[in-house]
């Protein structure tokens, strides 16, 4: 929670090793949500916690240097846009809203549905990951929240 880096060498080394594996596991949970337990929400939370771990062990300023606010807001909106956009595309091609079988692809209806579900999970994962990262960067900081003028837009 502080602006400085954690002193412990063990914590820094272990998290430097383990953070890529956490992120890989999060991506696995998102993309395999259709055949195993998990899904967009859980995978997004796992990706977000990896960034929280980075921000706690290394400093908050480093996190703000690596992740800009514009990208976070873009990902949040993009996730929701993917979800609702798939519904709107279905509606454009003659189906009901979120009726997945109507996509203009040369596939059978269950395959199109599976593809749409994969896209939807990716959208949810993006939205949840960037929301949790945004909450972390805004809530952890000085006494009255993070100074926004020190964060590059």
């Amino acid at each position: 929670m502080s602006e400085k880096m954690v002193e412990s060498v063990v914590a820094r080394t272990i998290s430097r090793i383990i953070i890529p594996f956490i992120q890989l596991y999060g991506i696995y949970v998102i993309t395999h949500g259709e055949s195993s337990p998990g899904g967009g929400f859980q995978g997004g939370v796992i990706l977000g916690t990896s960034i929280i771990l980075f921000g706690i062990v290394f400093s908050l300023n480093t996190t703000k240097k690596w992740i800009s606010k514009k990208i976070l807001i873009l990902f949040m909106s993009l996730g929701l846009l993917i979800y609702s956009g798939i519904g709107a595309i279905d509606m454009l091609f003659g189906g009901k809203y979120l009726e997945y079988g109507k996509l203009p692809l040369p596939l059978h209806s269950p395959e199109m549905s599976a593809l749409s579900i994969l896209m939807v999970e990716i959208g949810i994962g993006l939205c949840v990951m960037s929301t949790i990262t945004l909450l972390f960067i805004f809530l952890a900081g000085e006494k009255s929240g993070t100074r926004m003028d020190s964060w590059e837009i």
């Binding site: 949500g33 259709e34 055949s35 195993s36 337990p37 899904g39 929400f41 807001i73 949040m76 909106s77 996730g79 929701l80 979800y83 609702s84 519904g87 979120l98 997945y100 209806s109 269950p110 395959e111 199109m112 549905s113 599976a114 579900i117 939807v120 999970e121 959208g123 949810i124 939205c127 949840v128 960037s130 929301t131 945004l134 909450l135 805004f138 809530l139 009255s144 929240g145 993070t146 100074r147 926004m148 003028d149």
Partner: protein, 91 residues
């Protein structure tokens, strides 16, 4: 005062839950009340209709797509409102 009230209510609720657990239906029995109404339809048709082996994901993202869209909107709104609140606060 508040803490003893919390402990007393916790003990009462925990006692009720532990007493009630003997009456829970056996796990996996197809005659259980939640398994007789719409679940057989999902179990039979979910994979051939949605193409997804995991029935939970099929229900969440296909049959109940509006619910999940609303949930994602709630998360999005929470993030946006925290951002607006803290930016006002820091001016």
């Amino acid at each position: 005062m508040l803490r003893s009230l919390a402990i007393i209510s916790l003990l009462i609720m925990g006692g009720v839950f532990i007493y009630v657990i003997e009456d829970m239906p056996p796990i996996g029995n197809p005659e259980n009340p939640p398994h007789v109404h719409v679940v057989p339809r999902y179990i039979e048709k979910a994979e051939e209709e949605t193409g997804v082996p995991n029935i939970v994901t099929a229900i969440l993202a296909n049959y109940r797509g509006y619910d999940t869209l609303g949930e994602t909107t709630v998360i999005f709104t929470a993030g946006i409102s925290v951002m607006i609140l803290f930016q006002r606060w820091n001016k």
